[in-house]
């Protein structure tokens, strides 16, 4: 897992080649710029600028004066903050493990199949994800109501719920939301992982097979390490999405006529802070908290998996 830069430094004999490589990269940079260009305005408008705006709000008060960590302290001591944070951490934990294990597992299984079979399955897996987020939650509201659900048998015997209220009992919610999110999001990732698996040169697999590796060994010892970066990429993006959970609890709050609190997740609490209490500074502080958690997780994953190392 050495990068090309360390190659250049550690191998004096290859200095000339290395210099040429740097030259090539130097010449390549302006050429790649036009490809990145269309993305930059959006990155600034919807990524960087809101982030700066949120940070400014989070460290100032409603008159615009510097508030230090006052907003963070205030939101942290709010009686809804810790429960909401625990909810999303539990949810993200459950969902992320589901996603990592099942998506990678299913993609590996699919990749081992004959082409036509795997195409059909890929399509089937992807299908639920084609529904827009809110719509799929609505579908789940019916799925979770034992009196109308086609899976009422499962609800009764696995979840032990005979009523909709029991399906969305507080203790079950993180798991229910994880299930909804998995169902709506996993298909897309399976397709991505499948694409990643397709980049593995065929002769590598061939060589492994000649050496006597069975399908399980090939999947776990050859394919899995080669798509590690894609898995890391999925983990980072999904972690951020997971901690920012909003639509699912918000809709279930309304559908349950308020049985599920409207501050179930941290993002909802931020929303309530901003628009119910008019406290945009507190809302921004919570948003910055979430950003910090997301960044921390991302840095951890990036450094642990070598996601950005150019050559392997």
């Amino acid at each position: 897992m050495r990068s090309s830069e360390s190659d250049e430094v550690s191998a004096p004999a290859a200095t000339a080649a290395g210099a040429r490589a740097v030259q090539v990269r130097g010449r390549r940079a302006p050429r790649t710029f036009p490809f990145v260009l269309p993305y930059l305005p959006f990155l600034f408008l919807f990524g960087i600028f809101p982030m700066i705006y949120a940070a400014t709000l989070a460290f100032t008060n409603d008159t615009g004066a510097w508030a230090g960590f006052g907003n963070f302290e205030r939101t942290f001591t709010d009686y809804r903050f810790v429960p909401a944070l625990l909810h999303i951490l539990l949810y993200t934990g459950v969902w992320l493990s589901l996603l990592l294990v099942l998506v990678v597992g299913l993609a590996l299984l699919l990749h081992g199949r004959a082409n036509r079979v795997s195409t059909t399955y890929r399509f089937l897996f992807y299908l639920p994800g084609a529904l827009a987020g809110a719509a799929s939650v609505l579908v789940w509201l019916f799925m979770l109501d034992p009196s109308v659900s086609p899976g009422s048998f499962l609800l009764r015997n696995v979840l032990g719920s005979h009523l909709f209220v029991e399906s969305i009992a507080p203790g079950k919610l993180p798991f229910i939301f994880a299930m909804i999110a998995f169902w709506t999001g996993a298909g897309g990732w399976i397709v991505v992982m499948y694409g990643a698996l397709n980049t593995i040169p065929h002769d590598l697999e061939e060589a492994a097979r000649i050496d006597g590796a069975g399908p399980v060994t090939i999947a776990l010892r050859l394919k899995l390490p080669l798509i590690r970066k894609w898995v890391a990429y999925m983990a980072i993006l999904s972690f951020a999405t997971g901690t920012q959970l909003f639509v699912e609890p918000q809709l279930v709050n309304q559908a349950s006529l308020g049985l599920v609190p409207d501050t179930w997740s941290s993002n909802q609490l931020a929303y309530q802070m901003a628009f119910r209490y008019g406290d945009f500074n507190a809302a921004a502080a919570i948003a910055v908290d979430l950003l910090a958690i997301g960044l921390f997780a991302a840095v951890l994953v990036v450094t642990r998996t070598g996601l950005f190392r150019a050559e392997d």
Partner: protein, 444 residues
Amino acid sequence: MMQRSLLSAVVVSMLALAGCGGDSADDSAKGPTASPGASASGKLTVWVDAARLPVAQAYAKEHANVKTDIVTFDGDGNGATTLQTKIQLWNRTGKGWPDVVFSEQVNDPVWMARKPFEFAAPLEDLIPKNLVSDWPEASTAQCTVDGKLYCVQDNVAPVVLWVNKKLMDQFGYAVPTTWQEWASLAQKVAKEHPGYIVGNVGDSYGHWIYFWGNQCPLEQLKDDRLLINSADEHCTRVASMLDPLIKNGTVPPLSVFTPDFAKKYGGANDKVLLMPGPSWYAQALFDQTLHIPAGQITAAPPLQWENESPTTTGQVGGGPWIISKHTANPTAAADFVVWATTVFNPSGADARPGLPAYAPLAAKWLQMQAENPYFAADPTPALKTSTSQIWQGWHLVTYPDQPVWSNTVVTQLVAGKDLSSLLKPLGDALAQAAQAAGYAVIRE
């Protein structure tokens, strides 16, 4: 239709008269003023819940020169905070406010009148005094914030005892008059007719039915402080009465507006024997939701606690109409609100679900109900007496208490906990919500 336009003409002329009478219009007062007598025209944006859609549509139809834009929303029902979030946004952008809003939440005007929202317009200069005086005092009191009138209530919604007369006669039971009789009847029902129910406790407003009526101080303003004492005897005695009934299944912790409830107790099953509930239950619940056939349901007066008098009851509703202080068309806005509350009274599917708050209209509505073939017996005497029995010790606050009740109590009742054991968590959670909304809370 003829009658409706006639009535509206009457109201317009009343407005004109009020205008001629020089009704002390305080020029220094902030907020929009209507020009009474001037016929309403121009553009008007109205936000209503689904139940108030017919009145908005009827107004639009009959007032062709007012271009009425109707927007339906959740009505802030069950303690939602839709209007708070919307008003925050409008205030921030400085535009977009609707002219008239209906809320299912009786306490909404309290925060709408105050900072940081400051959305509601004082109605003194918009609706003539002689018209307002025909609202019951308790109703205008709920619309009065810091000494000014900020809304008029669409209906008054006292809790009465709904009775399935057909079933009660069939089983040979007498209609209870006290909570104690009701509870002992429930025990009897559990033994003799298991599966039938005498009430329910799973709605987001269950505490208004059982605790408000029985004078439990969960929202009592003492000067500038708020008393929340769920350990008060008025609360604990209700919980101990309900606990055995929740256990034996005669008072299930289910909401009446869930498919589960309708399936189990409604329609052909017809398992609702008695049900303490608000005045609007007849049409909205028994007829349209549970589909209980005509000729079965009637209303009995609110239940009394032993021999304590006077009898007090709870309230579920009393939805207010609010005019925006930002309205560019105060004349049409006032005209709409006056028409909706004092004129609109059709029969049939679009009939008003609840007892109108405006007294002259209430009289007409009650007359209609007395002749309504849906009822097994005339429900109007019970509805009439209950109006003045709403306990006045439960005050309206700026935060919604329904979600607190739902999250801390209903979900736990479903999980099999005792109501008595949940009173403390309820009090604590209400106190937290109150403090977050800026109240100084006292607990005993």
